[in-house]
Subunit: 192 residues, 2 copies
């Protein structure tokens, strides 16, 4: 179970990195095999097909993200502080895991996305929705569709992380709070 898991993990990590570099097309199974130091056939011992591998990889990184996400969230604190903390953690996760960032973005914008809906562990989504709902109910956030709100915020985070790695616009971690302020001012209820 240990060695088994190790090999599967090696395949995941290799695929992740190669896809970031070369995209789905640009990464033949043979390349994944070489990078993961296994034989081609071994991959097929663990996964039915390349599509399956990619779909499972998506679930794998999604779970990692969910696990990392709410760490350090303190329900006792004020809403705004929690908001900043959550968004910044999320940004930092992507900064720390660029392979994941680019893989997810590619995946979401590819036809893989709608092929077989991976049964998402939607832990992350639900905790986020609860948090946002609380913000709306207490009048701190604009009254809006929660899903919409969540997606707008997430897209803001992703854009920020991508920018961090881009050549054209140079930002660093010290700029993050200012960028988070943009989305905060956007979603907060200005009537108070």
């Amino acid at each position: 179970m240990d060695i088994l898991a190790e090999k599967k993990k090696a395949i995941f990590e290799s695929t992740l990195e190669l896809i970031k570099e070369n995209g789905f097309h640009g990464t033949p199974m043979s390349m994944v095999a070489k990078k993961a130091c296994v034989a081609c056939g071994t991959i097929y011992h663990y996964f039915d097909s390349k599509d399956t591998l990619i779909a499972e990889l998506y679930a794998y990184v999604k779970k990692q993200m969910a696990d990392a996400m709410f760490e350090g969230d303190d329900e006792q604190k004020e809403f705004k502080d929690r908001f900043y903390h959550l968004i910044l953690s999320h940004c930092r996760f992507y900064i720390k895991h660029p392979n994941t960032l680019y893989f997810i973005e590619q995946y979401i914008n590819s036809p893989y996305n709608n092929r077989e809906p991976v049964k998402d562990n939607e832990q992350f989504q639900h905790r986020m929705w609860d948090f946002l709902k609380q913000g709306i109910d207490t009048g701190v956030l604009k009254p809006m569709n929660i899903h919409l709100l969540g997606i707008l915020i997430h897209s803001h985070v992703v854009t920020t992380a991508k920018l961090y790695f881009s050549q054209r616009v140079k930002i660093n971690e010290e700029d993050f709070p200012n960028i988070v302020q943009v989305i905060w001012d956007g979603v907060k209820n200005h009537s108070d």
Copy 2:
């Protein structure tokens, strides 16, 4: 020159639609040829390779977008009105051209993006930057890096357009102004 342009255009449009449906990998040249009602060889009369076709297609749709973008912008109006008008036009362009929306998103998040930097007609970018700069200089917008501002706004627009076509969150054109308000509140300078 006329018929020539027609055939080239047919190839562009077919590629655009097929890539939206099936992605880069999922669209063989033979399929493009069939859909465009030309022979395989004809495509190679107009384009050096599949990569070239895709790169030129990107420039082609980018130009269409730029052309459609600033239509109806009135420099006499108040900044906020112009902002809403521009953002809404941009949203509506994507709504009207979903193929373009999904193609661009796939392209940007693929390794094609960094392969050969298409010499962008950056007309759109520059007009946008000028507009944003004016907003900052007059104190209406938060003082921020203009490129950063532009990208954050654009990502908001793209997210909105994608949401429009998504199953999960149902929004329609009447919701747009509220969504634009989020980004407006986000970027406006609240100190006045």
